[in-house]
């Protein structure tokens, strides 16, 4: 393997600009003659919009335009798109209810955009937005899922009876019932998967431009994929948002300050800015502030789960049955209905050999911000259910948590293995990885440590999770390679960097395959005019799909090069071999460099008809199979009984992420994800009160993981190659998040188990822990 190949901890190319403050994020982009847009948002969770008087705002200083939905609709900006909703148990797939770009005659969540103001300065736009007089007729609101499904609850949409969008199910109900009928025991658990604000540190923003000469729009916005946004806007995919032909819209994605699932999506504000730029005739910029992010960025998670595990007396799992409520919020965001259903439920069997499984989910609408993909997108919710349930089973049967898992793991010789929920697991050595983790965490010595801690008055707990995750299969990622006359290679990829470092990984793979220096490779992403197509980033697929594609294309480029090299060197094509960055006539010392061949490709006399100047290469590739990273998280904590505070003692992760390209960057993905999972378990929750007000819409009251409240992780990996792609890679982006939440929660429950506390809802804050300790003490007394 060469110096840029698999396993090399190459420094990131991106960091040259990031450490010097010369990155280029959306809000860093400014245009001459630019105007600013501010958004007026609903203060009510549910209200009729009786009238909107914009007179005073229009007359305010510096104001260039004040727009409401009527204005947008008249110009063909009609509707927020949503991807398809999965069919319910009755076989019918409902249509997503209409979601206007700005409120039409009703608002359904606090923060819903109602009107926009465009002015010479941001301050003028904001000041004027406060002069808009909206006459609201307040309606009763419902933010809680159980309340929304109850009889007599306020109804969000006439067409969504009882606020139940769809009652969806998966698995074999009869087989599951049969397995439960023969079970010796049934263990059940009730869980709440708390609502999370994705909280990219860069707030969303958009810069919209319109060129009247070419009748073309340009939208510059940080996202997880420009092509996806363009398709949603122009209606190439699903319901179109704006009456703009696809060729009349260019979407550009500059540097992105974190996405985490949320920046996949098309939001109201960029559409309003696109509308406004044509009307105003000047560039329109919108940069969200943090409260706007909390109010209108899609949220994540928000499920209520009831799960039951049928087992034998020996502890063998027979079947799992789960019924859940999944909150999609007040409207269906693009993947919104998929997240609590198709996206994650297939993973509810975890890494255990189970005969039968059945899941049913009530996808519920509430007067809250729309919920959509957040790092893991359904799989963390599934892992949380299964791994909490396994630990509860261990406690109730008296079988050790590791022994119970070992007994039920799918064995390494069973792959490929299809779960009763249809997931085609490709590989895994679960018991081996669990043993490695247990050794590193000194699992065997834990009870002694627990006793020692107890002597100091501390409650010590050790929590395990063995997670498995499914990373994006489906269409491959677009890659186009070419070489200029100086031998510089240009890679155009349809993926999108959100901080993961694809510029580096794709350069690394290209340099390795072509035997050149990384300095001679340029990677471009994120501009629909420059790159023909793209899937963007999401589903932890950048390396397995995007990286594989780059390598395959680079190899095809070599084959194209051989045809020219044969002409250049006056040899037969079959005699040309490529090595060390050059084309050689086998068995001779005659050769041509990649640069030389690229240069020759511009000479018609040397270039065959089927090769393009610059060796431009694009390869049609088959869809990629999903990959199934997995691993063991062991979290050891100590609880102060007087305060309920948690101290991290040790945190071990042993992962199978397939073959590793860049260990530095892999670690970043895993531990970043793990930190977010810790946040969900212990700190984070977007809270709505009974009237549907978001209680914590700022960093004052939404608790984020910080440098002093996230553990140091002891991270190792074992490479079990994925047979599903040529790199043997498995996805790394979401794995850490999926594994850590249940491990931390299990550790807290384990610490409290001597007090007979068997559940605390996430986030497991010091207050909740302290209250549980007090209740236990009262009960004991």
């Amino acid at each position: 393997m060469g110096k840029f190949g698999m396993g090399q901890p190459i420094r990131r190319i991106e960091d040259q600009r990031f450490v010097t403050g010369t990155g280029h994020y959306t809000d860093d982009v400014n245009r001459p003659n630019q105007t600013w847009m501010a958004v007026l948002r609903s203060p009510y969770a549910h209200a009729d919009v009786k009238s909107i008087d914009t007179t005073a705002a229009k007359n305010a200083g510096g104001v260039l335009g004040v727009f409401v939905n009527e204005d947008l609709e008249a110009a063909g900006f009609s509707d927020m798109p949503a991807d398809s909703i999965p069919p319910g148990s009755d076989g019918n797939a409902p249509e997503a209810p209409h979601r206007p770009i700005l409120a039409k005659d009703r608002v359904r969540y606090v923060g819903e955009p109602v009107a926009v103001v465009v002015a010479e300065t941001l301050a003028q736009a904001r000041d004027a937005s406060e002069l808009i007089d909206v006459d609201y007729g307040e309606r009763p609101a419902v933010a809680d899922m159980n309340a929304a499904l109850a009889e007599g609850a306020p109804q969000l949409f006439d067409e969504v009876t009882g606020n139940l969008l769809v009652h969806w199910s998966m698995g074999d109900k009869d087989a599951t019932e049969a397995a439960f009928a023969k079970a010796d025991k049934v263990i059940s658990i009730d869980l709440v998967n708390n609502r999370i604000a994705p909280t990219a540190i860069e707030p969303r923003g958009a810069l919209a431009e319109y060129d009247s000469n070419s009748d073309r729009y340009t939208l510059t916005t940080g996202s997880q994929g420009s092509h996806k946004l363009r398709e949603w806007i122009t209606g190439k995919k699903g319901r179109k948002a704006a009456d703009i032909p696809v060729e009349k819209l260019r979407v550009i994605c500059p540097d992105v300050g974190g996405g985490f699932g949320m920046k996949n999506f098309l939001f109201n504000e960029p559409l309003a800015a696109l509308f406004a730029t044509k009307v105003i005739g000047r560039p329109v910029k919108w940069t969200g502030d943090r409260t706007e992010s909390f109010l209108n960025d899609t949220h994540g998670r928000d499920q209520i789960n009831h799960a039951e595990l049928a087992i034998t007396n020996e502890g063998r799992f027979l079947a799992i049955r789960v019924s859940s409520l999944g909150n999609v919020g007040a409207y269906i965001s693009q993947f919104g209905a998929m997240i609590p259903t198709m996206a994650g439920c297939g993973m509810l069997c975890g890494c255990y050999d189970i005969e039968a499984a059945h899941v049913d989910v009530k996808v519920t609408m509430t007067n809250t911000t729309p919920v959509d993909a957040y790092r893991g997108a359904g799989r963390p919710e599934a892992a949380y259910v299964m791994e909490r349930l396994v630990d509860k089973t261990a406690r109730e049967t008296g079988i050790a948590a590791d022994a119970l898992r070992r007994l039920n793991f799918i064995k390494p010789d069973a792959f490929p293995y299809t779960t009763p929920l249809g997931m085609p697991y490709d590989s895994g050595e679960y018991a081996k990885l669990m043993d490695l983790a247990m050794n590193r965490a000194d699992w065997a010595g834990f009870e002694k440590r627990r006793r020692e801690a107890a002597r100091k008055g501390k409650l010590r707990g050790l929590g395990m999770s063995y997670y498995i995750e499914a990373c994006g299969g489906g269409p491959t990622e677009y890659a186009r390679l070419s070489v200029d006359k100086n031998g510089k290679v240009l890679v155009k990829s349809g993926s999108q960097n959100n901080g993961q470092g694809q510029e580096t990984t794709f350069s690394q793979l290209t340099a390795e395959t072509l035997g050149i220096e990384m300095d001679d490779v340029e990677v471009r992403m994120g501009d629909t005019d420059d790159i023909e197509q793209g899937m963007g980033t999401g589903g932890s697929r950048a390396l397995a799909a995007g990286g594989s594609s780059v390598v395959t294309t680079a190899e095809a480029l070599i084959e194209n090069g051989k045809k020219i090299a044969a002409n250049l060197l006056e040899a037969a094509e079959v005699d040309i071999e490529f090595k060390d960055g050059g084309f050689h006539i086998a068995g001779t010392d005659r050769s041509a460099s990649l640069a030389g061949v690229a240069k020759a490709s511009f000479d018609d006399s040397l270039r065959p008809d089927d090769v393009e100047p610059g060796l431009v290469t694009v390869v049609e590739q088959p869809p990629v199979a999903p990959t199934f990273p997995n691993g063991c998280h062991l979290c050891e904590i100590e609880i102060d009984q007087d305060t309920g505070e948690i101290e991290f003692i040790n945190y071990v992760i042993e992962d199978d992420i397939g073959c590793i390209l860049n260990p530095l960057m892999l670690e970043g993905q895993i531990l970043g994800g793990a930190g977010q999972g810790v946040g969900q378990a212990l700190y984070e929750e977007s809270v709505y009160d009974e009237s549907g007000q978001l209680v914590n819409g700022s960093f004052m009251d939404y608790i984020m993981p910080r440098a002093d409240n996230v553990p140091l992780f002891d991270f190792h990996y074992t490479e079990v190659p994925s047979p599903s792609n040529r790199l043997g890679a498995k996805g790394a982006g979401e794995a850490g998040t999926i594994g850590s939440t249940p491990a931390v929660a299990n550790a807290v429950i384990d610490a409290l188990s001597p007090l007979d506390v068997c559940d605390i809802e996430m986030p497991m804050t010091p207050l909740k822990i302290w209250q549980a300790i007090q209740r236990a003490a009262t009960k004991a007394a």
Partner: protein
């Protein structure tokens, strides 16, 4: 009210070594001055409430959040931004170098705060403990890294600075 907002103050500021004489509206934050008026976009806006740290700069040797600092109050102040960490010859400071070497960042939107706070920490405390590093970084939010690579980068920066000092002696 409108008039008051338009009041300006004549202020001399030294930013990254360069002297600026500026008429600054009384209500303008240092962040807006840097980004909008001086086109120095290395300093970022993440919350405008002083909680996330993406807007961190150094004012007279102390880190400060530029989003909640009124620029007009900074007469004769010496300000260093992330752009000012790079030396005049283009060489990276040991802190920048260490964050690069250790893959400290991912999306790097938090970079201004992490780099400025680490620079201040190591100027005062060349060999910080884990707890001191955590405290120094705790005013800066990062959503990407789980903070481990950042903490490792601070340690690497301390070592790099020490090596540079020893080489100079």
């Amino acid at each position: 009210m409108e008039d008051m907002l338009e009041d300006t103050v004549l202020v001399n500021l030294r930013i990254n070594g360069k002297l600026h004489e500026l008429e600054i509206p009384a209500h303008k934050s240092l962040l807006d001055l840097l980004r909008d008026d001086l086109n120095m976009t290395g300093t970022h806006m993440g919350c405008m409430t002083g909680h996330c740290g993406a807007c961190t700069v150094s004012i007279d040797g102390r880190v400060a959040k530029s989003c909640i600092t009124l620029a007009a109050t900074l007469g004769r102040a010496k300000i260093t931004t992330i752009e000012g960490l790079t030396q005049d010859d283009g060489e990276l400071s040991p802190v920048q170098q260490a964050f690069w070497d250790e893959a400290g960042f991912q999306c790097a939107f938090c970079a201004p705060g992490m780099l400025m706070c680490t620079t201040e920490l190591l100027d005062a405390n060349p060999d910080p403990s884990d707890a001191e590093i955590e405290t120094a970084l705790a005013g800066n939010l990062c959503r990407c890294t789980g903070y481990q690579s950042l903490r490792r980068a601070v340690k690497a920066a301390a070592k790099l600075k020490q090596n540079t000092r020893e080489a100079a002696e």
